[in-house]
């Protein structure tokens, strides 16, 4: 079966971003960019399913500026077969991303779409659920295990109370949690091979999707800073402070 994997270009997870001083946006000058970690897990899962013989073709899709090609190339180096870039320079919000992905699904007819549970820039955690709604697909969000059997997939989900197992009929949308797998590194030969893999480029207009934002960011600011605390010398001092100064025990 065919699997579509959605990969987003985001700030590397090690970077501590800061708002611009005028509050108009986040300062992304010269910061390191990468594939969203949850999307890396999504690719890895698709590749493992291919290695098991369950999946025959993996299509990596990204929506964003031309530079997002880098993240598609990474996905290709990790084992995706071909890429699709939906190129746009405007900010596209989750509902519109979901509509674009639906348009791609309409063309590609995948049996499964794997996305990250959340993009670590906007921390929205919406796109997979929205795509599932728009396509009428079932959804297995926050997946820590994915088992395909015939025309259904059994997904173990990480939930607040522990874990939940659901059985979904295919086609289905899966969103990945951290413990679904540990992504591999791309080998040099695979990085070279990825350069020759096909990548289609299309635009939101070509897909007939209206991407106007519904939500406007009025300003961004740093969070309230915690004031620096003190070091205590030993456990006795710690207990004394917690009892008499902080009064929390």
């Amino acid at each position: 079966m065919k699997v579509l994997v959605a990969v987003k270009r985001v700030v590397d997870y090690n970077v501590k971003v800061r708002p611009k001083s005028d509050g108009t946006g986040v300062d992304l000058n010269n910061v390191k960019m990468a594939i969203n970690p949850f999307c890396e897990i999504a690719i890895e899962e698709a590749v493992r399913l291919k290695e098991k013989g369950v999946v025959t073709e993996i299509v990596a899709v990204s929506i964003g500026a031309k530079v997002s090609q880098e993240q598609i190339r990474t996905a290709l180096a990790l084992g995706a077969d071909r890429g699709i870039l939906v190129e746009t320079d405007v900010e596209v919000q989750p509902l519109a991303i979901a509509k674009l992905l639906k348009a791609v699904c309409d063309k590609e007819q995948p049996q499964m779409v794997i996305l990250g549970k959340q993009a670590i820039d906007g921390d929205n955690n919406q796109t997979g659920q929205m795509l599932a709604a728009l396509t009428g697909m079932s959804q297995g969000t926050f997946a820590s295990e994915v088992v395909v059997e015939g025309d259904s997939v059994t997904v173990t989900r990480e939930v607040d109370s522990g874990s939940q197992v659901v059985k979904l009929s295919l086609p289905a949308v899966i969103t990945t949690d951290l413990r679904l797998n540990e992504p591999r590194y791309a080998s040099l030969p695979n990085i070279m091979k990825a350069k020759k893999k096909p990548m289609d480029v299309m635009t939101p207009e070509e897909l007939g999707v209206e991407v106007t934002p519904r939500v406007t960011t009025l300003k961004v600011e740093p969070p309230a800073e915690r004031k620096a605390g003190i070091k205590v010398a030993d456990v006795a001092e710690l207990v004394e402070k917690l009892k008499n100064e902080a009064k929390v025990i």
Partner: protein, 309 residues
């Protein structure tokens, strides 16, 4: 304005997160209606009717909603939600699962994890693991919102007397089914609601050593949490993870033990009132947010702390 809240419940009772969500709804202002979608959920609906500030409870009691599968509940929320100006749910795994799906069915955006209400259409929410706070304004006719529960003080579970109305519509998408659940059982307080949280990280070395933290927690009446590294290493189950992609906590006292303080971990606990860090590395970033830092080997400090309490 009228606000529909998707209740978090287990058919028998209402979860605390619902009370924080009602508080966010009160900050928006308007008529507050709570939807209890479940199976044999009469008791939960009755409890919802007692919540302070709620004017009506809608009960959709049907096998299709028994396990609150998103495919089914989102259809219900989208149908009922058309008549409301706002639809809210807690930003729990359950709210996060269902609400974006309902928003897409209504062709509106969702605003995730708000931490404050500026006006009926403007909200604050953290982005980039809480390193940036964005003020966002929605232009949609229906505002679909998940609420970070730690940012809103719970309303009282008592004192209300809302009317309870049954909803007949049964939506069964027929595309998913519940298989089973593994619920982590614990006599300790719920991590997201506890007033004291003791968390362990990779420095704990193994799952057995967490016994030290359980003992400490029991003396303090605390919940026990963990870093992602501790969960990934298999020391403790995933529902204990605190952070950007785990649970958000804001207790009166958070004690981080053997945790370095990565930004993803800080995102889940830095709104705690008092933070204590015990770490043998004096340069560990956790000390930058700790009110009281103790540079020590946890294997000496934790037993000592335990016996001092």
């Amino acid at each position: 304005m009228s606000i529909l809240i998707l209740a978090e419940h287990d058919n028998a009772s209402i979860k605390g997160a619902t009370l924080n969500t009602v508080a966010a709804a009160k900050a928006i202002g308007g008529d507050i209606v709570v939807l209890v979608a479940g199976e044999a959920c009469g008791a939960a609906a009755e409890a919802a009717a007692k919540i302070e500030g709620v004017s009506k409870v809608l009960v959709a009691d049907n096998a299709a909603y028994g396990h609150q599968l998103a495919e089914n509940v989102s259809l219900l929320v989208a149908e009922l939600g058309k008549d409301f100006s706002h639809i809210l749910a807690p930003a729990s795994t359950s709210g996060k699962n269902t609400l974006p799906r309902a928003a897409a069915l209504l062709d509106v955006a969702q605003i995730s994890e708000i931490i404050s209400v500026e006006s009926a259409d403007t909200f604050k929410r953290p982005i980039y693991a809480g390193n940036v706070i964005a003020t966002v304004q929605s232009s949609d006719a229906i505002k679909v919102i998940t609420v970070r529960t730690t940012a809103f003080d719970a309303v009282s579970a008592e004192g209300g007397s809302a009317v309870v109305e049954a909803v007949a519509s049964a939506h069964d998408a027929g595309t998913s089914s519940y298989v089973r659940e593994e619920v982590a059982k614990s006599d300790r307080p719920d991590l997201t609601a506890a007033s004291i949280v003791v968390s362990g990280g990779r420095g704990m070395q193994n799952g057995d050593n967490f016994a030290m933290l359980y003992s400490l927690a029991d003396k303090l009446g605390a919940a026990v949490g963990a870093s992602r590294a501790a969960v990934d290493a298999g020391f403790v189950p995933n529902d204990m993870q605190v952070g950007q992609t785990g649970k958000i906590v804001a207790p009166d006292l958070y004690i981080a033990i053997g945790i370095s303080g990565a930004i993803q971990h800080l995102a889940g606990m830095k709104d705690s009132k008092v933070i204590v860090a015990i770490n043998k590395d004096e340069d560990a970033p956790i000390f930058q947010v700790a009110d009281y830092g103790l540079v020590a080997d946890l294997f000496n400090a934790v037993p000592e702390l335990d016996s001092a309490l």
